[in-house]
Symmetry: C2
Subunit: 162 residues, 2 copies
DNA sequence: GGAATTTAATTGACATATAAACTATTCACA
DNA sequence: TGTGAATAGTTTATATGTCAATTAAATTCC
């Protein structure tokens, strides 16, 4: 049950053991996230689009004709306000996003997916969905559900009111 | 067994369900990593140091008087080569790191923790180790070990020769 | 109705990241 | 031994992410 030197530890080439399992789990989460991010990045690379950009486009597709205020897009990502403005600028320059000031609340900028953006997403959908099947590697559906449940608990413990 | 709307899904305010549990697990990993990163970031904020910087200093402390070539430091982080140069520059300017060209292999730059760097780390150690106890929130040691084991399998599936 | 507050978004400054191109040094091996 | 390949590190360019300050519009509340 107890694998001798600890694989993660060897991975990091650390000399000292982890302070606690808590510590080790946190590092495992951070490093696995990097692996996952890189994996999706490679899937998207041929389309010259990054994972956060792809996520924004998918969010806008979900919003449909109603569009979505800039900060609502940010709220659905990890991202804070300033980052989303820049990213939206890039997506706009590439012709995938359109923006218009909201009539109802003139402070808001509504963002929409363009037809070009929708076409791009359609091209990406198939390889991307196929990637989902590979991202968790050798894990069973049951393992995935366990991870989902446990990590949910971690996030919950750190969550603001929500 | 099947929780009705899915908490993560609600978190993301997505309309459509995840394509698969694989998909959902990947998103859970990415979002939890962000939570963990932010948590450690807040612990370190009073010391005006970032998590990656702190990791570099700890690696150099581990290396001791022998020091460590720049790219060896990078190898122990997620980080690729160019990033480590900049970060080391910043740590040098702050007086926490010292550098010297290796005599044995004149291509290498050996990096060392300075006495000031060591003092800083000592100040951070206690609050940081205390944070380890909180980072995994309500999870038991057993849960942590489960997460460690499952995520290890995910990384393994994506690993290069190693 | 109008001053104070809040909210949506942007700007500027800085830290991480990654890819590509480059310099300097070392190594492999014919 | 000497040339071509590999390695260590930096530079440049671009993208993501965060904080603090700012602008403009909407809301609160006397």
């Amino acid at each position: 049950m107890k694998q001798p030197p600890g694989r993660l530890q060897r991975e990091l080439r650390q000399r000292r053991p982890f302070v606690s399992v808590s510590d080790e789990a946190a590092v495992a989460i951070l490093r696995t996230a990097d692996v996952v991010r890189r994996f999706y990045g490679e899937v998207l690379a041929p389309f010259e689009i990054t994972l956060p950009q792809y996520n924004v486009l998918r969010i806008l597709r979900g919003a449909g004709d109603a569009g979505l205020p800039t900060l609502d897009v940010a709220a659905r990502l990890i991202e804070s306000a300033p980052g989303i403005t820049l990213m939206m600028d890039r997506l706009f320059k590439r012709g995938w996003v359109r923006r218009r000031r909201a009539r109802a609340d003139r402070r808001q900028i509504l963002c929409y997916l363009t037809a070009e953006g929708a076409t791009l997403l359609e091209q990406i959908d198939t390889p991307f969905d196929a990637a989902h099947a590979r991202v968790m590697g050798g894990m069973t559906a049951r393992d995935c559900r366990t991870v989902i449940r446990l990590l949910e608990r971690v996030r919950q413990a750190h969550s603001s009111p929500d």
